[in-house]
């Protein structure tokens, strides 16, 4: 009996502990938010609660206030002289990123689930590609992108497909793919390439949260990237949020794609055009995580931000018929007029 009682008590204690664990992140989050707000006040930055819509408003109010408009860019003026910064040409996003993505640093990109890997890796590749073309403009150097992928990430999330890179507007011939057999080898290569100036950008893809890439491990990579002045992207496939030395961690998810425009300038409801990404600033200088939706145009090689509401109601293609198909464009998908069946075409004789 006594033993039974003890076991019961232990179980209760464990349960209460677990409950505390459950509560704790909330408390921490609150404290953290408070602190961040205080810091933001000291730094005289906008302290709006950032979910996307209210943030857009806050930017608007900023634009009314000429004073803010002038001071903000100045703040980053010094920065721009020292380090290369990738800007999105969107004031709200660039402000949230304190000017843009720092290119001489370790940046972590994370996909929560394996099925989001497509979006995360595409976004990372696009960033690396931006760096590549930036260097080409600035120094007239054709430098390659190095992509290091660990075996398990390749097996689970699929191989990077070169034609897929081309459809994003990236030339895969200027890239070097490293496929090490073990994580240990992958980290060795990562360390080697991170310090190279002859590389435009390095992407290291890992799956989950391997122990070698903790605070100390990522710090080594960050310092090397910093001294070389080249970006290092840590692409985490299906990983948890983890404290690392990365200055910026972005959570990447796919967002509904843009609609194709018909010749009549109307959107074609059941179509998939430019890919869109939902970027969450999980770790940055901001008081609260913010989220943006970016659309990538592979022809103009640029991002456009879009507010959430445009695409939040994807068209149900089974109910809606395309309103207008324009001249000379055949109906795809749920077309009523299927091609009539053909027999096998047999060569003559």
């Amino acid at each position: 009996m006594k033993r039974g009682e003890r076991a019961m008590r232990q179980q209760q204690m464990r349960a209460s502990l677990a409950r505390e664990d459950l509560i704790r992140p909330d408390l921490i989050r609150k404290d953290l938010d408070c602190l961040r707000h205080k810091i933001a006040k000291i730094e005289k930055r906008s302290t709006a609660r950032f979910d996307n819509t209210s943030f857009a408003q806050s930017v608007k109010s900023d634009s009314d206030n000429a004073h803010n408009l002038v001071t903000l860019p100045k703040q980053y003026e010094n920065n721009r002289h020292n380090e290369d910064i990738l800007q999105f040409d969107d004031p709200a996003l660039d402000t949230a990123l304190s000017g843009g993505i720092n290119l001489g640093a370790l940046t972590e990109l994370r996909s929560q689930e394996t099925r989001q890997t497509g979006a995360a890796s595409a976004f990372t590749w696009i960033l690396a590609h931006q760096m590549q073309s930036f260097l080409k403009q600035k120094h007239n150097e054709d430098l390659p992108i190095v992509f290091i992928s660990e075996t398990s990430s390749r097996l689970e999330g699929g191989q990077i497909y070169p034609p897929g890179l081309m459809s994003l507007g990236i030339n895969p011939a200027t890239c070097l793919f490293i496929q090490p057999r073990s994580l240990h080898d992958a980290l060795w290569v990562a360390e080697l390439t991170a310090k190279q100036k002859s590389v435009a950008a390095t992407i290291l893809e890992v799956r989950g949260n391997p122990q070698n890439l903790d605070m100390a491990g990522t710090r080594r990579l960050h310092l090397r990237a910093q001294s070389a002045g080249r970006p290092f992207f840590l692409l985490r496939q299906a990983g948890e949020e983890e404290a690392t030395a990365a200055r910026l961690r972005l959570g990447v998810q796919s967002a509904p794609a843009a609609l194709r425009a018909l010749p009549s300038q109307r959107a074609f409801s059941n179509s998939l055009s430019n890919p869109a990404f939902q970027i969450t600033l999980e770790k940055s200088k901001n008081p609260a995580p913010q989220s943006f939706i970016l659309e990538w145009n592979h022809d103009s090689h640029s991002f456009t931000t879009r507010s959430k509401d445009i695409s939040s109601n994807p068209v149900d293609f089974h109910q809606e018929q395309p309103p207008d198909i324009g001249g000379g464009i055949s109906l795809s998908g749920n077309g009523s007029d299927q091609a009539s069946e053909m027999g096998r075409v047999v060569a003559f004789g």
Binding site: G158, L165, P275, Q338
Partner: protein, 488 residues
């Protein structure tokens, strides 16, 4: 069981090759019999050939019918490096002796003569008596001795020797001036061929075991070395020396091989390939040091390496490019050097570049090829424009269960990796016909759809097989659905 080979002791007891083991035991009851193992013998002979590589790069195995018997060394132009033919032969045989191997050697103008002489003349004793000259034949003095050779010295099969013996042809002189026609008729072409080969009337080149390298340079060390740093220093000195030779030819090395000759006769070979040809000593050293770091173990050096050789296995013509001031400024190591460095450590299949092929089947349209090979065949197929291909492709399409409109509608709902997905939008189909010339005529057509689910994830899904035309409900064959890739 029969005797396949005999040592000198056994020969002294008048045992013969091909004798039954029982008979042999009757002659000599305390006989040691070891089962013959041709494969192991051949491996041993190969190791010896590696070792003998220090004398000449042209080494052929004498292993008729897979039965290893000896080594042919083509020492044309090499003997003076070792102080003349006599000294060289003495060096070879005495080194074998030190390794505990009984060897008989001879030097003669043709492989055939040398073969016969080595077997007839017991070099071991003669060398101890400083009579090495008698193991060496040249065109001036060969005739008299060759006439006295027994028939066995002509590399003939046993049954032919017996047949010759039966008609009283016991020595070479018996057939040397005999009419050729009857000999030919009676014993076939081999006898005269061997005779001509011995006399040099028919050419018999020594076919080298390994491809002979374009350029090779070696260093014999007075004191054997074993430390990795020492080996690397040596490599750098050698490649510096090779550089001038390569420059004279206007070439640069693409593949290099390092041979380390250990004191006890073991030879280690290390090969590296470069992603871009080079003759830069520092770079070659760096690559070998990567490779050595991965595989070298100092305890392996044993007593140390006495000779180090660096060869250029493959050289390509490379025009000289002048270094500019600008290049030196910010490029620490060029891309090729980086690729080489990684290749040397991780192996060539780990460092790859994409190649495009002329195929519409997605998994065949592109593949990855080691950078080293990529350089060699530079003729890439022109990249056609690809639209709407996924960024990630599963090399094995993963089966999904899908609900879709029959016959050609996109999926409405599907299950992949144990999760359900509701399709919000879809584009397609993109029909890709099977490549019957590879997959056979029964291969099925694929209809690819780009689908987006309710939360915006985009997938590339295909249906394999067309309704009615390629599948028959009556046979229970239905088109199958597969997940092939993830879009951005």
């Amino acid at each position: 069981m029969r005797l396949a080979a005999l040592d000198t002791n056994a020969q002294a007891h008048k045992l013969r090759e091909g004798q039954g083991v029982t008979e042999a035991r009757a002659i000599c009851p305390d006989l040691d019999i070891i089962a013959s193992d041709d494969a192991a013998d051949l491996a041993f002979l190969n190791a010896l050939a590696d070792w003998a590589d220090r004398y000449t790069p042209l080494i052929g195995l004498d292993a008729p019918f897979g039965k290893p018997q000896g080594l042919f060394l083509d020492i044309t132009g090499c003997a003076h490096l070792f102080g003349g033919e006599a000294e060289m032969l003495k060096d070879i045989v005495s080194r074998f002796d030190q390794m505990g191997i009984y060897a008989q050697g001879s030097i003669a103008p043709t492989p055939g003569l040398a073969w016969g002489l080595a077997r007839e003349f017991n070099s071991q004793y003669a060398l101890h008596d400083h009579k090495a000259e008698s193991a060496i034949m040249n065109w001036d003095n060969f005739e008299a001795r060759f006439r006295q050779f027994p028939m066995a010295a002509l590399r003939l099969p046993l049954d032919m020797l017996l047949a010759l013996d039966r008609v009283g042809l016991k020595k070479v002189k018996d057939i040397l001036s005999a009419p050729r026609k009857p000999l030919m008729r009676r014993f076939g072409p081999l006898l005269l061929k061997r005779l001509d080969q011995a006399l040099g009337q028919e050419e018999e080149p020594v076919s080298p075991r390994l491809p002979v390298s374009d350029l090779s340079l070696e260093r014999r060390l007075a004191e054997p070395i074993g430390r990795q740093e020492d080996i690397e220093t040596c490599i750098e000195q050698l490649s510096n020396a090779l550089r001038s030779d390569l420059e004279k030819r206007g070439q640069a090395g693409q593949e290099f091989m390092l041979m380390l000759f250990r004191m006890d006769g073991v030879v280690r070979k290390i090969m590296i390939g470069l992603s871009a040809p080079s003759r830069d000593a520092k770079r070659i050293r760096a690559l070998f040091s990567q490779k050595l770091a991965a595989i070298y173990d100092e305890s392996d050096a044993g007593m140390g390496f006495e000779t180090i050789r660096l060869s250029v296995l493959q050289a390509v013509i490379k025009p000289d490019v002048q270094d500019s001031f600008v290049d030196g400024r910010n490029v620490q190591t060029s891309m090729h050097q980086l690729a080489d460095q990684i290749t040397a450590r991780l192996g060539e299949e780990s460092v790859v570049k994409p190649v495009f092929h002329q195929s519409f089947i997605p998994e065949r349209a592109a593949s990855f090829m080691p950078v080293i090979q990529h350089v060699k065949h530079d003729d890439q197929i022109a990249q056609s424009q690809y639209y709407d291909r996924p960024i990630r492709l599963f090399s094995n399409p993963e089966p999904v269960t899908a609900i879709a409109e029959v016959p050609e509608g996109p999926p409405i709902r599907f299950q992949w990796r144990r999760s359900q997905y509701q399709v919000a939008r879809a584009e397609g189909p993109e029909r890709i016909g099977a490549e019957w010339w590879i997959d056979g005529e029964s291969a099925q057509t694929r209809d690819y759809y780009r689908v987006e689910d309710k939360s915006g994830r985009r997938f590339w899904i295909f249906r394999q097989g067309l309704y009615e035309r390629e599948t028959h409900l009556s046979q229970g064959l239905l088109p199958k659905w597969f997940m092939h890739g993830l879009f951005a």
